[in-house]
Symmetry: C2
Subunit: 273 residues, 2 copies
């Protein structure tokens, strides 16, 4: 699904996938920057803990945001497709300045939220300027095409990734998280090579991509973002490959980006600052 | 050290790094192709088991080559720097049509052979047309700059690789082996980013790069060769990085090559066939 349309005179909010395991206490640079974007102390943040099976996940993030000086942070315990129809929750989303999707299992997010009024409210709110951050599974769900699973390893292969439709907050990239920690280059290369229209983004833990309404991605955090740009791909053997075959991909561009570096998803240009 | 000079009218032999764990019995495509290059049944292959601490490594490869129809395969038990002065071994090397360096520890190869008459004989023989294959540590030792060690992981960093001088049979590449199996992208990226003059080549197990005298690398075997071409590198933060810092590298080219694909080390062009 394409991102919801931005109304005339308005500006889309940031989309902020985080690679999981972000610092919440010692030096929470990612969460602090998210809070600042959302209005600082006056921010109104709703937490969507749907990816998690743990009842404490939502309240824990309420405490994290309270500790960062936010008075209004509210977890919405959406655990069923029925919950995702709730007009009370939709109102909370519509009144928010920031939405935070917790980690867990991205297939819980897609199966519980997919096509519901809550999903529509998140998409509409982002198009109206509300910033949406998500960590781990909460990052995975953001693009049009979501990486739902796949084997670990550095090599692409014909069955190297499971894709599923995501929330469609952004459609110019395919992303993976816990990227170097879980050795996921192979599944990102598989996803990008299935259809090389999108840039592949592998986000390390405690690292975030702050993607602005201008399509520029800003790296924040301790780790690294691996960018695979297949726009000049000259050859791919993916279509002919049988299960287990090695894959030939010729002409990918690769950037390793650390904190402060930028990548424009429109022009596909990377820069150190 | 640069490769030994090829005399007028002669042609350099192939240099054949193998990523380790090559098939020796079921479907030994790599060893068969090496044997064919060296003259088939009339090949005279010397085995240098110096990297290995095991007394049986040399004799085991004699059996492997015998099973492939070679009558003249001889292991040279070079275990000390004194052994590496032996005129008997040098004669064997000079009479050979192929030299095979076994796996083990590449620092044994470099510390025992480095600067000795045996190392000189290998270099001279290769320049005179003798083909040199090496597996695992035996592959690592081949280039001018050898990867001696380093941490596993997908990310480059300031202390991400230990380099040492190698045999200098080839100087246009830096290579690593057991590449995807041991998750070594980070140390190859570190090595390439220290000085981006060379192409980085990551060779999977049971996979070989047959590098001809024309500088064209031909992929043979079950796995994959990852090529990192830094010739268009636009920016690197390696010089400013402190220990543990994430590194920014902008503008690398990446090719994933499987059996049959080629890469020209001179023109830096990859092709599927």
């Amino acid at each position: 699904m394409c991102p919801a349309k931005v109304a005339e005179g308005e500006q889309r909010g940031f989309v902020i996938p985080i690679g999981g395991a972000e610092d919440r206490t010692e030096d929470p640079v990612i969460l602090k920057r998210f809070v600042k974007l959302c209005g600082g102390k006056d921010a109104k943040i709703v937490i969507i803990p749907t990816a998690s099976m743990k009842a404490e996940t939502g309240p824990n993030y309420e405490s994290v945001f309270n500790d960062l000086g936010i008075k209004q942070s509210t977890s919405l315990p959406i655990n069923t497709r029925d919950d995702a129809q709730s007009s009370k929750y939709i109102e909370e989303i519509e009144k928010s300045s920031g939405i935070f999707l917790t980690g867990g299992n991205q297939l819980r997010l897609s199966t519980i939220l997919g096509g519901t009024p809550v999903a529509q409210a998140i998409r509409r709110s982002n198009a109206a300027g509300v910033h949406v951050a998500g960590t781990s599974a909460g990052a995975a769900i953001m693009p049009e095409h979501m990486i739902a699973g796949g084997p670990t390893g550095a090599l692409p292969n014909e069955q190297g990734v499971t894709l599923a439709p995501g929330l469609g907050l952004i459609n110019k990239l395919i992303l993976d998280q816990h990227f170097s920690q879980r050795n996921r280059l192979g599944r990102l290369l598989s996803a990008v090579s299935y259809n090389p229209f999108a840039t592949g983004i592998g986000i390390c833990e405690d690292t975030a991509a702050f993607i602005g309404p201008d399509g520029v991605l800003d790296v924040v955090g301790q780790g690294n973002i691996t960018v695979i740009d297949p726009s000049d791909l000259k050859y791919s053997s993916m279509a002919e490959a049988k299960a287990g075959d090695s894959i030939t991909l010729i002409g990918l561009k690769l950037h390793m980006l650390s904190s402060g570096a930028k990548y424009c998803l429109k022009t596909r240009q990377a820069s150190p600052k």
